[in-house]
Amino acid sequence: MPASFPPLRSGRLLVPFLLALAAAAACAHGVAADDKAYFEQSSGAHIVPFIYLGAKHMVTGYDHLLFLFGVIFFLYRLKDVGAYVTLFALGHSITLLSGVLSETRVNPYVIDAIIGFSVVYKALDNMGALRRLLGFQPNTKAAVLVFGLFHGFGLATKLQELALSQDGLVPNILSFNVGVEIGQMLALSAILIAMGYWRRSAAFGRQAFNANVVLMIAGFVLMGYQLTGFAVT
């Protein structure tokens, strides 16, 4: 559980490391099909490969990252960041584990469209739109937990596509879940460092509203992309 993050001082070390990781993930994309074949042709527990896959999925999963970016946009204290991330992790762990184990098949396009909507929701929330329209602030922690549950279904669907063997399924899913948390921590650390610099600048107050409009655009694009996929398949 990402309860505490390295202080910003360690950014000097972390940024090159993250760049290296991103490069590794980019290279890994080419062998994704091989990853799949490897897992499908072997049975039993593969702790480290599944941790790696989970982390890779999170670090390269732009939809999850956009949502997290929206969530921590106005969070300054590490304690708050930790609380929200824990809630998000709790939500997606529940549905990831139960979804795979109960063989719940959810249409991935629907789930991904909901994830796109979660990005739009969080952008509007950051802009103060919900308070303006509803007259009160909906519980942000509850929203993160609920959307975390949906994100978990998305992860479960990705994992089910691997047609995993029943042998060693539980340790493998748990490993994947651990990997997702590690990937989340790495990605969040990078986002937090960048946000830290940005927030210190005088322009942040002026740019915050427009940044969330951009976030909303990204959410709408994700929704349109997934809903079209749902319509044509």
Partner: protein
Amino acid sequence: MTTYDTTVLPTLPQLGKATAVALAVAGAILVGAVLPAEYGIDPSGIGKALGLTQLNGAARQAAEVAPAPATATGATVTQTEHAFRTDDMSITLQPGEGAEVKAAIRKGEQFTFSWASEGGPVKADMHGEPFNAGPREFSTYWKVARQEAGRGTFTAPFDGIHGWFWRNKGKTPVTIRVLVSGFHDKLFRPEPAA
């Protein structure tokens, strides 16, 4: 740390404008780039003009590897030192179960094959690897997500074990019967990788 003052709420016209702009930009990105590239949906023609529609289909084909159709190229007769043999094997797969059947064969040698699945389609992957290969060292020849039968001629591109991996993705058991005739050394079921 400066704290951003979130107590000043934007006005409804401001919010309406921001949302309208976001929808318009997202729509333009979708129509001009994402939908043509991902689905080949291009009512505006922008995707074609940008060359993005070429991307469509490439990704889908990458998921499946198709063999070449039979053509009359190459030598009419080739000679071999290996003994000719025919092997016949049946395997039953429970739901979710996967298994390999492989033939050891030398580079350049051929076998003809025919397999069929009884009880429903299976995920089929024809591939090969050198003798004593590492876990990631293999070449894929033919890969289909749902297939009931496959037949053809195989020429080994390198010394090694070449054959099939099938997985039953259905809810009921299936039985796969595979028939191999040619100049391979043996047909066997490799131990699944640990």
